[in-house]
Structure formats: C-alpha cells, structure tokens
C-alpha cells in the first residue's frame, strides 16, 4: 500500500537532503560506513557465454557467503547485484548506470566480454566508480587510454597468447605450417593478430595454410575439418571456447585430425571437463592464468583446495577459470578495501580513496601473488602444458607444465601489444623456464 506523504514531511526531507548535500560538499573525506557493501557484478547469465558467467556467479555466491560468515569486509556484509551481459552492450551501459545511481553500489566487477569491458571502463571514469575488470581479455583497455578507476585483477590476451606460443616453440620447434580456426568475433580476430605478430617475430617463415573464422556460435565444423585434413598443417591454433571448442575437438578427434596436427588451445581449460576422455593427449593447452586443478606448486595449497572442494561439493563439478578469476577479483576487493580503510585510520573510504588503494595493490590468489601495475593491469602468471590424463581427474590436465612469469609475457606499460610482439627476438626462448616434469 502506498504511503501518503504530508507536506511537512516532504519539506523536512528536502531540507535534510539539501543539508546533507552541503555537508558532503564541504567534507568530502568524511564517509559514513554503510550498512552493507554493495557489489555490482556484470556477467553472462544467458547466451553461449553463460558457460562462463553462471559458474562465475556460483563461485561469487560461495565466496560472499564465506566472507559474510567471517564478518564481512570492514565489518559489514557484502551484497552482490548481478547484471546479465547477454542482452548486449547498450543494455549493459544502462545497467551500469543503474547499479551506480539507483542501487548505490560501492564497487563494480565488469565483465566477461571484451566489448562489455570496453563499454564499462569509460563509465568508470565518468562516474568515478572503482571497477574491477574481472575476466575480459582485450589488450586495448589500458593500452589505448588511462582509466584511473579501473583495474584488471587477472591477465589478458597478450600473455594468454604469448605463453602458449613460447611453449609451442620450445616443445615443437620444427613446425613449418600452421592453420588457425577461431570464432568470428573480436577475441577470435584479436587473438590471431597477437599470435601472428609474435610468431612472425619469434619464428619467421612459418607458412599459414588456412585462416578460418567460422560464424560465432557455430555448431558444425565439418567443412573446416575436411579442409584442414586435406592441408595437413603441422600446427592448428584455436582460441575458441565453450560449446564451440567442445564441438570442434569432438568432430576433429572423430575424424583423426588431432592425430595429424598438433593443436594449440589457449582457452582449453574451461572445456576439458565436458570433453572428458574425448580430449586427445599431447596437445598444448592453456587456462587463461595459472589455476589448473593440478597446479604443481600453488602459493596456498590449503586455500586452493578448500575453494575447489567447496565448489565441487555444491555444484558437483570442478571450478573453471572464470570461477578462479572471480575469486581473484574478490580477493583483490578484500585487499583493496583493507588497504583503503587502513590508509584512512579505520574510516570508510570514499570513491577516490578506494580507487587510490587499488593502484599498485598486491594481493594473494590461492595459486600466486598478483600485482596491479601502475596502469591498472594485473600481472598473473600463465601455466601451459600438454594434455594428459592422470588417476586424479576424469578429464585432461596438463603435464610438462611451464609457469610463465607474468612480467615476461605481458606488454610493458606504455606500449601496445602488437607493436611490442613484433619486437620480440628468438633469443627470448632462452628465458622460458624449464617444464615441471610429471
């Protein structure tokens, strides 16, 4: 039932609001502690990329429950507000504004899609709202402009492509021909540009026999597979993900393409559970980070195992990389708030103070330590290996893993990735760490 508002109450409310606005203008530093910490989270809850977005949300719910059971952040409980990236960028931009203006969120996690991040990051500048880019991979964000309120709490496209390339060059240096089959959208095209720039610099003369970009969300790759069977490339690169990667591997495996060519799959990790034993062994696989279930030496093994076990217990599956990226963003949020509150002598930070706390922040993920550089980009190690089977998991995991230090495979601050990749020299291979046996 709507409440009637008396004229006196309205006037009193207006007076109180004006007073508080004046007060706020005169004392920007005095920030009252809220009753809850509101976190806006953009993720895919519909469409093909919900294979990433839904598990990430599940991981977030799990971790927020843990945090709230332990007393919250800065003594207040955390409350997430989820927004679906599925309907597209225009919708998301409106939702971002709604989260800030109507829901009053204190921080935003955005997004899975690179297009979403490219749309949300300028909004973080405009609305001065700290925004953690928790999963998107485009290198353009911090290479094409400064964003004082945006921070990426994981790696990005360049290290995620360069690390598998270096691994391939170390383990199969004699390849002469290559074909690419990527999804026909921004990531598929951008990742190929990054790979090509790096490959031409590190191993000039490799012949690209086919560049295939089937329609995004394709369900059939028969023709592409036939063509690659006929061309017999030494190496086939695919940065595809989700159902498309599962379909590609199954169709290619059934027709023995994986017997003829070595596949390089930088985003394989998220699909390996679905593939199970259907994933052939001996192919190069990546995880968009270092969070493999058989990580050879996680920084905090107990914390890593606890997260994996809790997630498995609740959802009957292993967490995939978006879950780990979400966990990293949440760990960064905890560290950032702690730093901001400490800097303010126990007081609650305003938006500017919170953003300041993230600049140069170092925080622990379950597997390693991540540092947010001065440009906002996170430095996350990359682990690449060869697909193999063990008794521990009913799906493929990497063997002969190489841990690539983030700084080695990330574009230096102030440079653009493609330009930097073109400057790489073959002697860079000498710096690649030795594989970890097993």
């Amino acid at each position: 039932m709507p409440h009637a508002v008396s004229r006196r109450a309205a006037l009193l409310g207006a007076a109180a609001t004006s007073g508080s606005l004046l007060f706020a203008g005169g004392n920007a530093g005095a920030q009252q502690k809220p009753s809850e910490l509101r976190v806006g989270i953009t993720t895919f809850l519909s469409g093909p990329a919900s294979v990433f977005g839904v598990p990430a949300r599940q991981a977030a719910d799990l971790l927020f429950e843990e945090i709230n059971r332990a007393g919250g952040i800065g003594g207040i409980p955390v409350r997430p507000f989820y927004v679906d990236e599925g309907p597209g960028t225009d919708h998301l931009v409106g939702e971002y504004r709604r989260l800030v203006q109507n829901e009053g969120v204190h921080i935003i996690f955005a997004s899975i899609s690179s297009g979403s991040c490219l749309a949300c990051t300028p909004l973080s500048d405009e609305m001065r709202k700290t925004t953690l880019l928790w999963d998107c991979g485009t290198q353009r964000i911090f290479e094409e402009g400064k964003h004082p309120y945006a921070f990426r709490t994981q790696g990005y496209g360049t290290p995620e492509i360069l690390a598998p390339l270096l691994y391939l060059l170390k383990t199969k240096p004699d390849f002469r021909t290559l074909a690419v089959i990527n999804q026909d959208y921004a990531w598929g095209r951008d990742s190929w540009e990054l790979w090509k720039a790096g490959m031409d610099a590190l191993k000039p003369g490799v012949r690209v026999v086919a560049e295939l970009f089937p329609r995004f969300n394709s369900t059939d790759f028969s023709t592409e597979i036939t063509r690659m069977l006929a061309l017999r490339p030494d190496v086939i690169l695919s940065t595809s993900w989700g159902g498309e990667l599962v379909t590609l591997i199954r169709q290619a495996s059934e027709r023995r393409l994986l017997d003829r060519s070595t596949f390089v799959l930088p985003v394989a990790e998220a699909s390996l559970q679905q593939l199970g034993r259907a994933m052939p062994q001996g192919h190069v696989i990546g995880a968009r980070g270092d969070h493999w279930n058989n990580h050879p030496k996680p920084k905090d093994p107990a914390r890593f195992q606890r997260f994996v076990d809790s997630y498995r217990q609740r959802h009957n599956e292993y967490p995939i990389y978006p879950c780990h990226h979400m966990a990293q963003a949440i760990a960064a949020m905890q560290a950032g708030f702690a730093r901001a509150i400490e800097a303010k002598g126990g007081g609650w930070p305003n938006d500017q103070e919170l953003a300041n706390a993230f600049r140069g922040l170092t925080f622990d993920s379950p597997t390693s330590t991540i540092t947010l550089r001065e440009d906002g980009q996170g430095l996350e190690d990359q682990i690449v290996g060869l697909s193999s089977f063990t008794d521990r998991f009913p799906f493929a995991v990497p063997k002969d893993m190489v841990i690539f230090p983030a700084a080695m495979v990330s574009t230096p601050v102030g440079q653009k990735s493609v330009d930097w990749l073109k400057t790489l020299k073959p002697d860079m291979l000498a710096q690649v760490p030795a594989p970890i046996a097993g």
Binding site: S46, G53, N217, T219, T226, A230, T247, R250, R255, R256
Partner: protein, 311 residues
C-alpha cells in the same frame, strides 16, 4: 578454367560431401517451418526452440540408455523417441494454448508472440539442462568413419555424416511428398494450405488440420535437433542459430514450398561449404547472399507463387 578444375576439383568434391550433410540438417528444420507456415500462416520463431529441445531430449535419452548398459546403436532409438516425444507433447500444447489465439491476427503480433515463446523455451532449456555443453555422440561413433580418397591421401569422414544425415533427409522429403499427395490426410492438409475457406466449406475440420500440421512440424524440428545432437555440443543459443538459417532457406525457397526447401537447403549448404574452401571470409554471409540474390530477382522465392489478393 580446365587447369583450375584440375587443381581444385578434388577440393570441391570434398566440399560437396560436407555441404550435403549440412544441407540435410538445415532442410529437416526448414521443411517443418515451411509446412507450419503453409497451413497456419504463422512464421513461428519458436521453431528453433523445438530444434534445441529435440537435441537436448535426444542426448538425455541417449545417455539414459547408455547408463542402462545398452549398446551404442540404441542411441538411434533415442533420436526417434526424442522427436516423437517433443513433437507429440510440445506441439499440441503450443498450438492449443498459444498459437490458436493469434490465427488471423497481425503478423507483427504473431512474430512477437512466437518470439516471446522462443525466449521462454530458451530459459526452460537452461532450467532443465543447465548452461554447460552436453554431448552424446554414441550413434555417430557407433558407425565409425569412412576414408574418402584424396589424391594420394585419404580424408576420414564419419559414416553418420556421409550416409545417415543425407539419407534421413531424403527419406523425409520422399515421405512428405508421398504423404501430402497420396494420402487422404495429406491431401486435406494441401487443401487447407491452398484455400482454407474453401476447404472448410467442403467440411474439412481446419482446427484439426492445423493441430496435426503443427505437431508434425514440431516433430520435424525436434528430429532435426535429435539428428544434429550426436555431431555437436548442446549449449544455450543453438536454437537461435538454427532458426535464422532456416528462415533464410524458407525465404529462398518461397514460403509453403516443401521440395523448394530441399533445393534451397542444398544451395545454401553447398554454397557455404565451397566458400570455406575458396573464400572462407565469406562463409558466414554466403547463405544470406544467396537469399538476397534470389529475393531481388524473385521476391516470392525460387518456388513461391505470386498470389492475387482476394477481396
């Protein structure tokens, strides 16, 4: 020219094999859509959902049969059972509860209602099957592969792709042609398609015919999905992709044309495959380029008829 064929002839031959299988799957969905439009005069956007649900149901039944220890070949029974269940249950439900209320209404309203239905069914799929890829390829694996000679090399194709998909599509086409032209029920459907008012005046129960046709169309969409399920991973959104391509086939053929749908599906399937070999950057647009080219020359579609407006 002769030299070009000598160099690329074998590749084009391979492309034809791929295109044939692809066309077969597209045809299965498009022909159901076309039949439904012919009788109900509704462009049913939710047809793509029936494809997706048919695929999911086939995979679930197949996995269940496998868990009972039945041989992989039993997966073929799962494909037919899924199509029958989805068509037999969802078809009448949708026709009775939703479509019957919008016959004869404005086309925009019909599109909006079926689109809403499509969105609802997409969410239903996520509720039941989740968002992670599901696959059940036992029927495809059971038949193994066939090595097709390619110069001094061989190219493995799955027997399922080479024989089952085109075979089922051909059988469907022949069966439909026989059913519509040689059986009383089929002729009644053709009569309602041609002139509903005249058919009703002759005592045909048009409501019963629309129910039957929609159920049959829904079963065909579900069969298309079931046939596709052993070859692909099932994820949210597969229905949307299918319906867009099916519309291209139907528009190229001319709404209401059965044999036309087969030929259009073949054109689009082969066009797409050949593009992958000769100009892969055009793969995505080839089906729509064919559609636009046909519609510019024949707005009623390749096999559609110009209708005089009745007053």
């Amino acid at each position: 020219m002769g030299q070009w064929f000598a160099e690329n002839g074998l590749l084009i031959g391979l492309a034809l094999l791929d295109g044939l299988a692809y066309a077969a799957l597209v045809f299965m969905v498009a022909v159901g859509l076309n039949m439904v439009f012919g009788v109900l005069r509704i462009v049913n956007v939710a047809h793509g959902s029936l494809f997706a649900i048919g695929a999911y149901a086939a995979a679930s039944i197949g996995l269940f049969l496998a868990s009972l220890g039945l041989p992989p070949i039993a997966g073929f029974a799962a494909l037919l059972l899924a199509a029958a269940l989805v068509g037999g249950i969802l078809g009448p439900l949708i026709e009775r509860l939703v479509l019957r209320r919008i016959y004869g209404q404005e086309e925009v309203l019909q599109l909006l209602v079926t689109f809403a239905l499509f969105m609802i069914l997409e969410d239903v799929q996520k509720l039941i099957w989740g968002v992670q890829p599901i696959f059940q390829d036992a029927p495809m694996k059971a038949l193994g592969t066939v090595d097709v000679p390619f110069g001094e090399d061989v190219i493995p194709f799955t027997a399922y792709q080479l024989f089952v998909l085109p075979g089922v599509a051909l059988a469907t086409l022949a069966g439909l042609a026989w059913f519509l032209r040689r059986t009383l029920t089929g002729r009644v459907i053709v009569a309602v398609t041609t002139d509903k008012e005249a058919a009703m005046a002759m005592g045909i129960d048009a409501a019963k015919v629309t129910l039957l046709t929609f159920t049959f169309g829904a079963a065909l969409a579900a069969l298309g999905g079931a046939l596709a399920s052993p070859t692909t991973s099932l994820v949210p959104g597969i229905g949307a992709q299918t319906i867009v391509l099916s519309f291209a086939v139907v528009a190229t053929a001319g709404l209401g044309q059965i044999e036309g749908a087969a030929i259009s599906a073949l054109m689009i399937g082969l066009g797409r495959s050949i593009a992958v070999y000769l100009a892969p950057e055009f793969e995505v647009v080839v089906p729509y380029l064919i559609m636009v080219a046909v519609l510019l020359i024949r707005p009623q579609g390749l096999f559609g008829r110009l209708e005089t407006r009745r007053v």
